[in-house]
């Protein structure tokens, strides 16, 4: 059983006036990689501030139980503004936390985060992306049992983002460290995180496994945190899926495919490709109703008026009775 490293019991924070930035929250965070996802202003940073101890809860309690397990320190934090030390150079930032025996490791990290040629610069002379990379490198160099990152890649250019993220997750897994981070990006959750916490308006709306959220989300809103989803309420199932259902059904883009079919009941109104998936607006012939579908494309391209059918991962299509 995974150890619990944080336990929040009714913990929360006030905002301006009587508003609550974070409503009373009771969650447990365990060893492993935990993602915190939510829209801007939802309370992600407030939650991370509570976990690190940077802010004390205005109500409730936050209990921390981190086993150092041979690491140099319990926890290290990379906040959204970097939290850098303005009078120290890049090299000195890592030297402070690395100690004498970590020089080689910190040099390696400087190389990996492409900061070697900036080692003599101070934070005021670095770009935002470089400041973010330095903040992450410093946290990793500190060798804590738990890493806490607040939107670690938000300022990093897209060409470096995948590489840096792979380094961060790879380091955490290799050294058996726990990682708690906030993000907007589904691609930094799926395939990386063990658990995910969804937060909206200062309230936790989901706390559980990534897989369950991806494949069987409790609501369309929560489902959307892990990317696009084709969500069908029971009334829509018969129209679009050709079958009835008592509860909503959801299909991720890779679970359905739009195929051309002369006998298909659906027609293309609009079709486009956004780089990751196809976005199609389809019209149902008999009722005239339309809706948007997200699917993974296999290179097919459709034009307005084309007749299509939707095929599901299990091989059935919307035209099949009771699939």
């Amino acid at each position: 059983m995974q150890n619990i490293i944080w336990k929040l019991e009714g913990a929360g924070l006030y905002g301006a006036g009587k508003d609550r930035r974070l409503h009373p929250t009771s969650i447990e965070i365990r060893n492993g990689i935990t993602a915190i996802v939510g829209h801007s202003g939802s309370g992600k940073t407030s939650l991370l501030n509570l976990l690190t101890g940077f802010e004390k809860p205005d109500f409730g309690t936050v209990r921390r139980n981190i086993d150092m397990n041979g690491f140099k320190t319990e926890l290290f934090w990379s906040p959204h503004n970097g939290g850098l030390w303005p009078h120290l150079t890049v090299e000195q930032h890592l030297a402070v936390v690395a100690g004498k025996h970590g020089v080689e490791f910190s040099n390696t990290l400087l190389e990996e985060f492409e900061l070697s040629d900036r080692r003599d610069k101070r934070p005021g002379e670095l770009s935002r992306g470089e400041c973010s990379r330095l903040s992450i490198a410093r946290a990793i160099t500190a060798d804590p049992a738990v890493l806490v990152f607040d939107e670690p890649l938000v300022n990093i250019d897209s060409s470096r983002r995948r590489k840096n993220w792979k380094m961060i997750v790879g380091h955490a897994r290799e050294k058996s460290k726990s990682l708690v981070y906030s993000t907007h990006s589904p691609s930094h959750i799926i395939g990386s995180a063990d658990a995910v916490i969804c937060i909206s308006g200062g309230k936790i709306i989901y706390d559980g496994s990534v897989e369950k959220l991806y494949l069987d989300p409790p609501s369309e809103e929560v489902a959307s945190y892990l990317g696009e989803v084709n969500w069908f309420v029971p009334e829509e199932c018969q129209v679009w899926l050709g079958r009835s259902s008592e509860k909503p059904l959801s299909f991720r883009p890779e679970h359905l495919k739009i195929s051309g079919s002369e006998e298909g009941l659906l027609k293309i109104r609009k079709y486009g490709f956004d780089g990751e998936m196809a976005v199609a607006e389809l019209v149902e012939s008999s009722t005239g109703r339309s809706r948007t579908f997200f699917s993974r494309t296999d290179g097919c391209h459709f034009r307005e008026g084309d007749r299509v059918e939707i095929k599901f991962k299990n091989g059935k299509s919307n035209g099949d009775p009771a699939n």
């Binding site: 006036g17 140099k72 320190t73 290290f76 906040p79 030297a95 402070v96 936390v97 690395a98």
Partner: protein, 518 residues
């Protein structure tokens, strides 16, 4: 009229002398001729000095704007040098400035406007550091990018009035704050005005009070000048009541273009101020007092009164530092609510009125039944000094918090837990947290220690402080011993502070690491 009528007491309604008839309206209000004359004198002195103060505030703010822009754009080393020069200008005590320049002022006495201009020039140099600090740390309500977007819309170029209003509301907040603060300091200034025999309401009032005018009447005479100050402050607060007070590092990048003319101007004006207000006065004291150092310690009053002054200023600085910390942490974040405005105004406004009004009001309060028993204790002096320091302490806390991220300090504190990073983290904490606190403390301590008016009015009879005595002695002329005494009184606290900082530099990191070890 309401202000005038407040100055007059009904008790004196019956006092009239033949041949000295008062205007009928004043007789109805029960005014004595003496009160009428004194009130008019203070009002006229206020109105007489007002144009010079307005001129000073504009000139200083315009100059300060260039210097602060230069500081924004220049490298860290240049910033530190200019900052130290400005601090040097600000810290020089009025008594040293007065000693050096009183002879020039004496020659100009036959031409009062020229004397006032000369005084305004000295005061402008003295207040330049204040303006630079305000302009540097008070952020605009709009970023440079936001300004540019506004220009792109073409909306605010339609009329010059809308441009002016836009500038006042958005880009002009720091400018207006500097105008206000410099005006308040110039309008309530006493020390240098007294040495240069300037016709200033503070000098007139101080002389009247020292000459035996009852305290209640002295306090009443403060009403008109305080009314002017309060009006300006309330207008400013009202105008900017809805603006969120962004931290400096939350605002987008400022205008960081390097302007060569601005560079030269900034260096020249900083050096000029340093020479006129620090180097020349201190050199004059050194030249006059070289032979007097050995005479200073005759009689033990010097050490006793200097230490008394240091202790009072230290104690009030600690109190002001502590109270401002509570206010800052309670109200630092978010917008200006009514509650915030009320709390800040109550605690901060008295200090902005000037040292003399605070001293006289405190004197009056401690002559009332119930408090009169405490009149001869250190309490009135400490209370007045603390009230004076509070607004500056709060502003400095705000200013320094805007250049040091709380997250950076927290991470350094967390790094103390690791044996590997403990030493480095302690050094970082010294720099980001403790040195900053020392800086704030030092900046509020020094002017309070050098102040003359509060100490002169409120020092307990058995605990006099050094500067009022020196001020009185200077009116009889300078000599070797006096110059040496002034120099030593100036150097002593600075030396003590430097020793304290040097010791703390070593001790604090050790204590921080010891605490984590435990």
């Amino acid at each position: 009229m309401k202000v005038a009528s407040a100055l007059f007491s009904a008790k004196h309604a019956s006092q009239k002398k033949s041949g000295n008839k008062l205007p009928h309206s004043k007789v109805r209000q029960g005014l004595t001729k003496r009160e009428y004359k004194l009130t008019n004198k203070i009002i006229f002195d206020c109105l007489g000095i007002l144009p010079y103060c307005i001129l000073v505030s504009f000139l200083v703010t315009i100059a300060g704007r260039h210097v602060s822009r230069f500081m924004h754009a220049c490298e860290i080393r240049g910033k530190i040098i200019v900052f130290c020069m400005l601090l040097g200008i600000y810290f020089v005590p009025a008594i040293a400035v007065g000693c050096c320049w009183s002879k020039v002022s004496y020659d100009l006495l036959r031409h009062p406007p020229l004397n006032n201009i000369f005084y305004s020039l000295l005061i402008s140099m003295k207040l330049l550091p204040v303006s630079v600090m305000v302009l540097y740390f008070v952020p605009q309500t709009i970023s440079e990018q936001g300004k540019f977007c506004m220009e792109l819309t073409g909306e605010y170029s339609k009329s010059s009035f809308s441009r002016i209003l836009f500038a006042i509301r958005n880009t002009g907040r720091g400018f207006n704050a500097s105008l206000l603060v410099v005006f308040l300091l110039a309008f309530s200034e006493f020390d240098i005005a007294s040495f240069l025999s300037v016709k200033h309401w503070t000098v007139s009032l101080f002389d009247l009070n020292a000459g035996g005018l009852p305290v209640i009447e002295s306090v009443k005479l403060c009403i008109f000048p305080v009314f002017i100050e309060l009006t300006l402050i309330l207008v400013f607060l009202f105008f900017y009541r809805n603006e969120k007070w962004l931290k400096k590092n939350e605002a987008s990048e400022l205008d960081l273009k390097k302007r060569p003319v601005e560079n030269y101007f900034s260096w020249i004006i900083s050096f000029t101020g340093l020479i006129m207000l620090m180097m020349l006065p201190l050199l004059a004291l050194l030249r006059n007092g070289t032979g007097g150092f050995s005479l200073v310690l005759d009689g033990n009053w010097f050490i006793k009164e200097t230490m008394t002054g240091i202790i009072f200023a230290l104690t009030s600085s600690l109190l002001a530092f502590y109270v401002s910390g509570i206010v800052f942490h309670r109200f630092a974040h978010g917008g200006m609510t009514l509650q915030k405005i009320f709390a800040i105004s109550t605690l901060m406004l008295p200090g902005l009125m000037g040292t003399l009004p605070i001293a006289l009001v405190m004197l009056f309060l401690f002559q009332m039944p119930g408090l009169v028993l405490l009149r001869d204790t250190p309490l009135p002096l400490l209370a007045a000094m603390t009230l004076f320091q509070l607004p500056y302490a709060l502003f400095l806390r705000y200013a320094f918090s805007s250049i040091v991220q709380e997250e950076s300090v927290f991470i350094a504190e967390s790094a103390l837990h690791s044996e590997v990073s403990r030493k480095g983290a302690a050094e970082i904490l010294w720099r980001l947290k403790y040195a900053v606190k020392f800086c704030i403390f030092f900046i509020i301590f020094i002017p309070t220690y050098f102040d003359i008016s509060i100490s002169a009015v409120l020092s307990p009879p058995t605990m006099p402080t050094v500067f009022p005595r020196l001020y009185n002695l200077l009116h009889y002329g300078q000599n070797e011993k006096l110059s040496a005494t002034i120099l030593l009184s100036v150097i002593m606290p600075v030396a003590i502070f430097l020793i304290l900082i040097a010791c703390s530099r070593i001790i604090v990191p050790i204590l921080a690491t010891e605490e984590k070890n435990c």
